[in-house]
C-alpha cells in the first residue's frame, strides 16, 4: 500500500513509494528546535532589541514553535505537524501554569525575611507605631487569626462532618440530592458576600458588636462546604463490607457509623479539615466587614475589633510607606508559612494514613 499524499508528506525523488512507514523526525528534534529558539531569544537579549518586557522569552518560544512545527510539516506531514504543535503548546501551558506560584513564593520569601524575627512574630504589635517608623509586629494579628480560624473550625467541623455523614450514610432521594447540590453551589459563594451576610445578620439584626467571633462566623460559611465535600469523599471510600459486617452483628446503625465508619475514614477527614483551614486562613474580605482593623492585642474574641494577618497586610499596604510595606511583606510571609504548615501536615497525614491498596 502506498502512502497517501494527502496525509503524509510528499514522497521525495529517491524514495521507495511502497515503504510502510512514514518518515519521522529524529528523537532529538524537539531539543534541537528548542535550542534554536533559545539561541534566537538569547540573541534578542544580547542585542537589546526589547520591544516588550519579556521579549526574549516570547521570541524564544515563538521561534521554537515555528521551527519545530515547520520541520515536522516538511518531514512528517500535516497530521504529525498538528500533533507536535499541540504537544508543544500543552508543554508550554503547563510550564506557564508553574510560573506564578514560584514567582510569588520567591518574592514573598525574599521580601518577607527583611524584617521577620521572633520579636516581630510573637511580641510586637502595631500599638503606637508610626507608619513611617520601622519596628512593630504581628503578634496581635497572629492572635486574632488563630482565634478567628479556631472559632470557624470549631463550628464548621461538627456541622460539616454531620452533613457529610447524612449525605453518605443516610441521604437518599430529593432532599439529599438538593443538599448535595447546594453544598457545591455554596463553595462558590464570594467571600465578601459571606462577610456581608454575617454583618447584616449578626451585627445589624441581632445587634452584636463587631468582633473576632463575627469574623469566625463569616469564615464558617466559607469553610463548611469544603469540609462537607472532603469528609463525604472520605466516607464514601470506606468499604461497604465493613458496614455490612458490623450491621450483621446486630450493632445499631449509628454505632456502626461512629465506631466503624468514622474511625476508618478519620485520617482523610482530618486532612480535609486541614486543607479547609489553610483555605480560610488567608481570607481578607469577610474580615474587613465583620471585625475591621485593630492595632493592638484584643484577647476577647466576642467584643470589639480584632486584628488578623490578612487585614494587617491590607492595612500596611494602604499606609504606603516603605517601612509599612516591609511589614506587609513580613506579614505575607507569616501567612504563607501558616498556610504551608497546614498544607504540609495535611499531605503528610494523607500519605501516612492513606488506605493501602491490597
Amino acid at each position: 500500500m502506498a502512502l497517501r499524499s494527502d496525509i503524509h508528506a510528499p514522497i521525495a525523488a529517491g524514495e521507495d513509494p511502497l515503504r510502510l512507514t512514514g518518515r519521522r523526525l529524529p528523537r532529538w528534534a524537539p531539543i534541537a528546535a528548542l535550542a534554536v529558539g533559545l539561541l534566537v531569544g538569547l540573541a534578542v537579549q544580547v542585542t537589546g532589541v526589547t520591544i516588550i518586557g519579556l521579549a526574549p522569552v516570547i521570541v524564544a518560544v515563538l521561534v521554537f514553535l515555528i521551527v519545530y512545527t515547520g520541520w515536522t510539516l516538511a518531514v512528517e506531514g500535516r497530521r504529525h505537524a498538528g500533533d507536535r504543535l499541540a504537544t508543544a503548546l500543552m508543554y508550554s501551558a503547563a510550564t506557564l501554569a508553574l510560573v506564578p506560584l514560584v514567582w510569588i513564593l520567591v518574592t514573598v520569601v525574599i521580601n518577607g525575611l527583611t524584617v521577620l524575627s521572633p520579636q516581630f512574630l510573637f511580641a510586637d504589635t502595631m500599638r503606637n507605631v508610626n507608619p513611617r517608623a520601622a519596628g512593630g509586629g504581628v503578634a496581635h494579628a497572629v492572635l486574632g487569626t488563630v482565634q478567628q480560624v479556631g472559632i470557624a473550625t470549631l463550628i464548621s467541623v461538627p456541622i460539616g462532618l454531620l452533613t457529610a455523614i447524612y449525605l453518605s450514610e443516610y441521604g437518599r432521594g430529593k432532599l439529599a440530592r438538593s443538599i448535595n447540590f447546594f453544598v457545591d453551589v455554596m463553595t462558590g459563594i464570594p467571600s465578601i458576600v459571606a462577610g456581608m451576610f454575617i454583618y447584616t445578620f449578626w451585627i445589624l439584626t441581632l445587634g452584636f458588636p463587631q468582633s473576632g467571633f463575627a469574623a469566625g462566623l463569616a469564615l464558617t460559611i466559607l469553610m463548611v462546604p469544603v469540609v462537607v465535600r472532603s469528609a463525604e469523599e472520605m466516607l464514601r471510600i470506606v468499604p461497604n463490607e465493613l458496614r455490612e459486617g458490623a450491621l450483621a452483628l446486630g450493632i445499631p446503625k449509628y454505632r456502626v457509623i461512629l465506631k466503624v465508619v468514622l474511625p476508618t475514614a478519620i485520617s482523610g477527614i482530618i486532612t480535609g479539615v486541614m486543607l479547609a483551614i489553610a483555605r480560610v486562613t488567608g481570607e481578607t474580605a469577610p474580615l474587613l466587614l465583620t471585625t475591621f482593623l485593630a492595632q493592638d492585642v484584643n484577647w476577647n474574641a466576642f467584643d470589639g475589633s480584632q486584628a488578623s494577618l490578612p487585614t494587617f497586610i491590607w492595612d500596611q499596604i494602604a499606609r504606603g510607606t516603605q517601612s509599612s510595606l516591609d511589614r506587609a511583606w513580613a506579614g505575607a510571609l507569616t501567612l504563607i508559612l501558616i498556610v504551608v504548615a497546614f498544607y504540609a501536615t495535611a499531605r503528610i497525614l494523607a500519605a501516612r494514613y492513606a488506605p493501602k491498596e491490597r
Partner: protein, 319 residues
C-alpha cells in the same frame, strides 16, 4: 398452639439512638440549605432602605452617591467592571487551564502529573491579599511594557487604545492576576472531566491510527465539552467574586471604560471592600444591595455550572 407460629418480634423496629442520630445529621444538612436561604433573605432585606430612597435609576445611573441628599447611585458601572475584568481573566485562564489539564491527564508521566497537579492546586491556597501585594509591586512593572506595546502596535483595536499614556493599575493587569487565581479551579475541574472520558474511546481512536492530538480532538474534547464549559463557568464564578486582589490593583475609577490598558475599572466586590469603611448607614445599605446582586449572579453561574457537571456524572459510566 402450633409450633409453626413465628416468634413475635418485640420492641420498636427503630432504635431511639438511631432515630436521634439520623435526626441530628439531617438537621446539619438542612442548616446548609437554611444558611443559603438566609443569605438571600438578609441581603435583600437590608438593601431595601437604599433601594427605596434612591433617586437615580439603580440599573443605569453611573454615579455612586448613596450618602448624599438625595441619595443617587446605580450599579451599571460596577456590573460592567465586574464582568469586564472577569472576561479578560477567562480569556487568559481557560486556554491555559485546559491545556494544563490535558497535559496532566494525557501527556505527562504519572509522577510528573501528580506533582504538577499538586502545584497547580497549591496556587489556589495562595491568599488573595498576597496576589494583590505581589501583583501591585512585582507583576505590574513587568506587564506595563507589554501594555505599552499593545497600545502602540494594536491601538487601532479600540480596547487596546490608550488616551492617557498611563499603563499601571489597568483592567488588563487585574485580568492577568485574576486569571492566575482562577487557573486552579479551571484546571482541576477540567482534569476531573477528562478522567471521565471512557478509556474505550481513547484506545479505539489510537488503535485506528490517530495521533495523540487527533485522539484528544476527536474522542476527548467532544465528550468533555459540557464539563469544560462548566469548568470555565466555575472559574468565572471565582473571578466575579474576587475582592481584595482586584481592589488593590485597580485604581477604582467610577466610570465605564472599555480600554483595558488604561488605569481604571472597578468591580462590585472591590467597591464594597474599598467603600465599606467610610460608608454611612445608607451607603452600607447600597453596598449591601450591590452585594446582593453579586450573590445572585454568582449563584446563577455556579448553579448552572454544577448542574451541567452533575448531569454529566450520571451517564459517564458508559464504557
Amino acid at each position: 398452639m402450633s409450633l409453626l407460629t413465628p416468634p413475635r418480634i418485640t420492641g420498636s423496629s427503630v432504635r431511639a439512638g438511631d432515630r436521634n442520630f439520623r435526626f441530628v445529621t439531617t438537621g446539619a444538612g438542612l442548616t446548609v440549605l437554611g444558611v443559603l436561604a438566609a443569605i438571600a433573605a438578609f441581603l435583600v432585606w437590608q438593601s431595601l432602605p437604599a433601594l427605596q430612597n434612591n433617586t437615580g435609576n439603580v440599573v443605569t445611573n453611573q454615579l455612586w452617591l448613596p450618602d448624599a441628599d438625595p441619595p443617587q447611585w446605580g450599579i451599571a458601572v460596577l456590573i460592567f467592571g465586574t464582568l469586564w475584568t472577569s472576561i479578560i481573566a477567562m480569556a487568559i485562564a481557560v486556554p491555559i487551564g485546559i491545556g494544563t489539564a490535558l497535559f496532566i491527564t494525557f501527556y505527562a508521566p504519572r509522577r510528573v502529573a501528580r506533582t504538577l497537579g499538586f502545584i497547580v492546586d497549591l496556587l489556589a491556597a495562595v491568599p488573595s491579599i498576597i496576589f494583590g501585594l505581589w501583583g501591585l509591586y512585582y507583576f505590574m512593572p513587568e506587564i506595563v511594557p507589554a501594555a505599552q506595546w499593545l497600545s502602540t502596535y494594536l491601538g487601532w483595536i479600540p480596547i487596546f487604545s490608550n488616551d492617557l499614556d498611563l499603563y499601571t493599575k489597568s483592567i488588563l493587569i487585574a485580568g492577568f492576576v485574576l486569571a492566575m487565581m482562577i487557573l486552579p479551579t479551571v484546571s482541576a475541574i477540567s482534569r476531573e472531566v477528562f478522567w471521565q472520558v471512557p478509556k474505550g474511546h481513547i484506545e479505539a481512536s489510537l488503535a485506528l491510527g490517530a495521533t495523540r492530538w487527533e485522539m484528544i480532538r476527536m474522542a476527548v474534547l467532544p465528550f468533555s465539552r459540557p464539563g469544560m464549559i462548566s469548568a470555565a463557568m466555575l472559574g468565572l464564578g471565582r473571578a466575579l467574586g474576587e475582592t481584595i486582589a482586584v481592589a488593590l490593583i485597580l485604581s477604582a475609577v467610577f466610570d465605564i471604560n472599555w480600554q483595558i490598558t488604561e488605569p481604571g475599572g472597578n468591580s462590585i466586590a472591590a467597591n464594597i471592600a474599598l467603600k465599606w469603611g467610610e460608608a454611612a448607614g445608607n451607603g452600607r445599605s447600597a453596598l449591601i444591595a450591590t452585594g446582593m446582586v453579586l450573590f445572585f449572579i454568582t449563584l446563577v453561574v455556579n448553579m448552572t455550572a454544577r448542574w451541567v457537571v452533575n448531569r454529566r456524572k450520571e451517564f459517564s459510566g458508559a464504557d
